[in-house]
Amino acid sequence: MDFSDSPEVARFRAGLRAWLAEHLAEYADGVSYDSAEGVEATHRWHRALAAAGYVAVSLDPEYGGRGLSDLYEAVINEELAAAAAPPPPPIGHIAHAVADFASADLKGRVLPGLLGCTESWCQGFSEPGAGSDLAGLSTSATATDDGFVVNGQKIWTSWAMWADRCLLLCRTEPDQPRHRGLSMLVVDMDTPGITRREITLANGSREFAEVFFDDVRVPAANLVGERGQGWKIAQHMLTYERGPADMGWTGRLGNVLAAAQEAVRSGHLPADDVLRRRLAAVAVDAQVLSWHVARSLVDRSSADPGSSGSVDKLLTTRVEQELYSVVDDLTGAAVVVGDQRPFNEYLWSRAQSIYGGTQQIQRQIVAQRLLGLPRG
């Protein structure tokens, strides 16, 4: 049992810290998805990180990664959070899907742009009629002589407004049952027939969009893996998306917690004994979450990563929702009148039990796959 960094990890961490100390100020300013300038700043930041070798480090070197374990991805997330830097580009799961399933040709065409962050990607999975029930999606890709014609609608597509390419899960085999009929395509977002519509969230966030496909032609060479392999690839990706390494939340929650603790310590937010105790209680949970995430990362190869990702997500959601609830109560009236950032963060925390598979679905996955309870 050893929770401390190995010498290699310690070296990697030190290198990243040094890089951040030198370059963060230069790139981090204005990073957001709320304006054209913010998006440009975001892309600049991602390209700088990529150039420094801190993007998709767990990918094989032949694809542009560094062949490091998932642990290093976690270190990157941790250190960026600790430095209050913007997050890294959330492309690990896309990169793994392409690297593990796409043809050599396709990899050659898209991985450099993806990993170099010179091209921006989105992931077209959810649909208005297929959220939790992803296998029920209906966007069709009808095979033609030289490729596919895509029709349908995606929703909750993060960063679609500014994406150059989309990894699209769609139905190519309408005569096959649910999961079996799906395939994965790489779609250039400037292909004629694609329309995007921004979704504004309740907290003002403009990260998401709807994407409409109207007779969109996609070349056969842009198929990832085989026809009918879409579900398998999506599951592979969700593994990475739900896992703690790609989440990078723990460190950011830690920052929010530390800021609240400092505000109480300094008297900036006055807190009675009850609030102090609630803050201490959620600090306990957050600490245990970070230990748990460390253990999950190391365990990852040995467990069923998809399901233990669900455990981690459920635990993270618990901590996050309680943390923002305590922070808002600490902030008091200033939450409902004044700067709306705390309230918007609270709203966002409420969404954490919905996105990436609702809490109810995550629990069902845990109950059936890890506990072996029978399907209903």
């Binding site: 009629g129 969230l201 009148v337 409420r350 919905i354 609702t358």
Partner: protein
């Protein structure tokens, strides 16, 4: 013992619900936080509100009001909450009640009742209760209000709306004394002060009840129609378990409102205030919890600006904080109940 609304109250609930729905339908939430319409009612809408007797509802008849009981006022306010009405009816009712308790002149109260003088209550900066003076005070639910009175009778003009969670009600700061509008007020008796406080808390409970009930009804409707895995999501036990506990919370809140509203006019002032604190503590927690569950029941779509779900959550959080959340009232009740006398 007769617990529940009588026929007249049910009719009033229906008529005020119809007007509230109509007012709400005319308000534009826009496409995002920077596009939302002001909660200040148009002249026409304000006239309809006044014509319906809402501004006069509670003031005594000698002050130009209709002299309604607290239960009737609660019936109205539940409908304001149910339809997330973007108009300062609640603020007006509370300000009028305060002015009356402070012995404001008949002419002033008549002008409030007639909708000609548009006033808002001043709360302290932490929104825990009525402000002792205009310093650092906040004019609560004050869209369209022209004046707010401090307990010393000074009248204050109001500034621009502050950034706020609730998109259906405004909070503004006093922005300068209006010398010629000041009034002679007197400090309230302890009883008047407690009863005013109980009345105000009760109305917030009513607004919370309307808000959480509307949210739950919509979530249930959504769960009936939205299908996943080939079935309405409302047929899944996990969804039913959440919705059922929410109904328990709604019904318990309704019971608390009924008692608290009855108590304002029927029990000694300290008992009424105690009941109102209890109801406000319960409803603050339950109201937000139900609205949070409704976010969950709606799924992703409920997190969009277009969906009304966040409007309910915003209103519930604001009601919860205003005049003290559950923690504030539990702290007072702990002192009352657990301190050796």
């Amino acid at each position: 013992m007769q617990i529940g609304l009588d026929a007249e109250q049910r009719a009033f609930a229906q008529s005020s619900g119809a007007l509230a729905a109509d007012l709400a339908a005319g308000w534009d939430r826009g496409r995002g936080p920077h596009d939302v319409a002001s909660p200040e009612p148009s002249e026409k809408d304000w006239a309809r509100i006044v014509d319906a007797g809402w501004t006069a509802l509670r003031l005594r008849e000698e002050n130009g009001g209709l002299g309604a009981g607290t239960v009737d006022v609660a019936v109205l306010v539940e409908q304001l909450g149910r339809h997330s009405v973007a108009a300062p009816v609640l603020g007006t009712l509370v300000a009028a009640e305060q002015l009356q308790a402070l012995g404001a002149p008949v002419a002033t109260l008549e002008a409030v009742a007639a909708g000609e003088l548009r006033v808002a209550p001043l709360l302290d900066a932490r929104l825990l209760g009525f402000a002792p003076s205009a310093d650092d005070a906040l004019a609560w639910d004050s869209a369209g209000a022209t004046l707010a009175y401090a307990p010393d009778g000074s009248a204050h003009a109001l500034g621009e709306p502050l950034p706020a969670t609730d998109v259906t009600r405004s909070v503004r700061r006093p922005a300068g004394r209006v010398g010629d509008a000041s009034l002679e007020l007197r400090p309230p008796t302890d009883d008047d002060r407690d009863r005013l406080h109980a009345f105000t808390l009760t109305l917030l409970v009513a607004d919370l009840l309307g808000t959480m009930a509307a949210a739950l009804d919509a979530a249930v409707e959504h769960a009936r129609s939205r299908t996943q895995f080939g079935k309405p999501i409302g047929s899944f036990q996990a969804v039913q378990q959440i919705a059922a506990e929410d109904l328990v919370s709604v019904e318990a809140t309704r019971s608390a409102l009924y008692f608290s509203a009855w108590a304002v006019d029927a029990l000694p002032a300290t008992e009424a205030l105690r009941a109102a604190r209890t109801a406000k503590a319960f409803a603050s927690r339950a109201g937000v919890a139900v609205c949070q569950d409704v976010v969950q029941l709606f799924g992703g779509i409920g997190m969009t600006w277009e969906s009304p779900v966040h409007v309910w959550l915003r209103r519930a959080q604001t009601d919860r904080t205003s005049f003290g959340d559950e923690h504030a009232h539990q702290a007072v009740l702990a002192d009352l109940d657990l301190t050796e006398r």
